[in-house]
Homo-oligomer: 212 residues x 2
C-alpha cells in the first residue's frame, strides 16, 4: 500500500514517529525543520505533503501538530514464525505488528509466532506470540532464540531453554517427546548465536489468533 520513500523522507517520518513516542504529541512543522536541519517551514510543509500523498500520515489542515500516523507506532514487528520440533527459518513478514505496551522498547524487541508444541510444557502454545528482547547473552534457564550460523550468516533459528553445562550447551525444548540439542562449547562459540530472550508471551482467543 504505502509507496516507498526516499532516504530523507524516511528519516523525517522516523523522527515524527520517535517524537510522538517520546513526547506523546506530534511535532510542529518548525520542530521537524529544526531536527531535520531544514531552514524553511514551507520546505517542511512540502515534505509533509509528500508523506501524506504517499499514505504515511494524515494531516488536519490548520491544526497545530495536526499530524496523524496511518499506522500507530506502538507495535513491535512480528518478524516471522518459529518452531517447534525442527528449527525453521525466521521469515520476514513486514508490516505485521503486535502491541504490547509502552514498556517494551520497539527498537530492541520483536515478536514471533510460535508454531508447534515444542514449548508446550512451559505453557507456550501453537499460535502464541512470544516477545523477544534482543540480546547476545542470557542466563541459565532463559528461553532464548538461538541461531545456528551457517558460514557466518544466520541459518536456522529455534526457541529453547538455555543451559550452560560443563563442556556443552544444552538447548532444552519443553516437550518430553523432543530431545534436547547438545552443543560442545567450542562449536557453540563458533557456530551459534543468541538472538534474544523471551520476556513475555501474548495469546489471543477467538477471531484471529488460534490457540484454542
Amino acid at each position: 500500500m504505502p509507496e516507498p520513500l526516499g532516504e530523507f523522507q524516511r528519516r523525517m517520518l522516523e523522527f515524527i514517529v520517535n517524537y510522538i513516542r517520546r513526547e506523546g504529541m506530534p511535532p510542529t512543522n518548525r520542530e521537524i525543520g529544526k531536527a531535520m536541519k531544514i531552514a524553511s517551514t514551507g520546505h517542511v510543509d512540502y515534505h509533509l505533503s509528500m508523506l501524506e500523498k504517499r499514505g504515511y500520515i494524515i494531516r488536519e489542515a490548520k491544526k497545530s501538530r495536526g499530524i496523524k500516523l496511518t499506522r500507530h507506532p506502538w507495535g513491535i514487528p512480528v518478524e516471522g514464525t518459529i518452531a517447534a520440533g525442527e528449527p525453521i527459518e525466521i521469515f520476514s513478514e513486514p508490516d505485521q505488528t503486535i502491541e504490547v505496551g509502552h514498556g517494551v522498547d520497539p527498537e530492541s524487541s520483536f515478536a514471533l509466532i510460535v508454531r508447534g508444541q515444542s514449548m508446550i510444557e512451559d505453557h507456550i502454545c501453537d499460535g502464541d506470540y512470544v516477545v523477544i528482547k534482543r540480546q547476545r547473552t542470557c542466563e541459565n534457564g532463559d528461553i532464548v532464540v538461538a541461531v545456528h550460523l551457517v558460514e557466518g550468516t544466520p541459518g536456522k533459528a529455534t526457541l529453547k531453554r538455555f543451559f550452560l553445562e560443563k563442556e556443552q550447551v544444552r538447548l532444552q525444548p519443553a516437550n518430553a517427546e523432543l530431545e534436547p540439542i547438545y552443543i560442545p562449547r567450542d562449536e557453540w562459540d563458533r557456530e551459534w548465536e543468541i538472538q534474544g530472550k523471551v520476556i513475555a508471551i501474548v495469546r489471543h482467543y477467538g477471531g484471529s489468533g488460534r490457540a484454542a
Copy 2:
C-alpha cells in the same frame, strides 16, 4: 499520590484522556473549553493548573497542546486476582494497569491476575494476566468470569470454561484434579452472572511477573 478531584475536574481530565486516545494528540485549551462548555480560555488554564498541581498532568509552558498525562491512558485496569480451585473475591487494586494495545477498548475490558493452577491444562498459569471483555453472554467453550450472586449482589467469582448442557450449566476448570461445577438452569438464571470472557492472556517473564 494523586489528590482526589472534584466532579468537574474529573470530567475534564476524562475528556483529555479520551481526546488523546481518539486523536493521538492532546487537546488545546480552547478545545477543552468548548467540550466543557467553558467560555474563557483563562478559565481552562485555571483548571489545568489545578490538574497539574494535583499531579494528574504535566504542562509544557507555551507549547501548543502542551499537556502530558502522568499516567498513560493505554492501560486497562487490573481489577484483582482470580482463582483457582475455589472461587475467591475479585478485590479492587486501584491504579494498577496493564497495557495490551490500542485494539482493546479500555472502557469495556479489564484484566485479572490468575492465581493457582485451575486453568493449567489450557496453559493459563499462576501469575498470568487474563484480559477480560465485559459481556453478559457467552458461547459454549468460552473461558468466562462467572459470578455467584449472593442476595443480588456480586459474591464470589471464578474463571472457568462455560458449557450449556441440557438441564444445567457446567463450569469446567482445566485441571483434572478439580471437579466441574454443575448448576441447574433455574439456579443459573437466578443466582449467576457472566461478567465477561477471556480474549487474551499476557505473561511476563523475569523481573516483576512470576510464571517461571
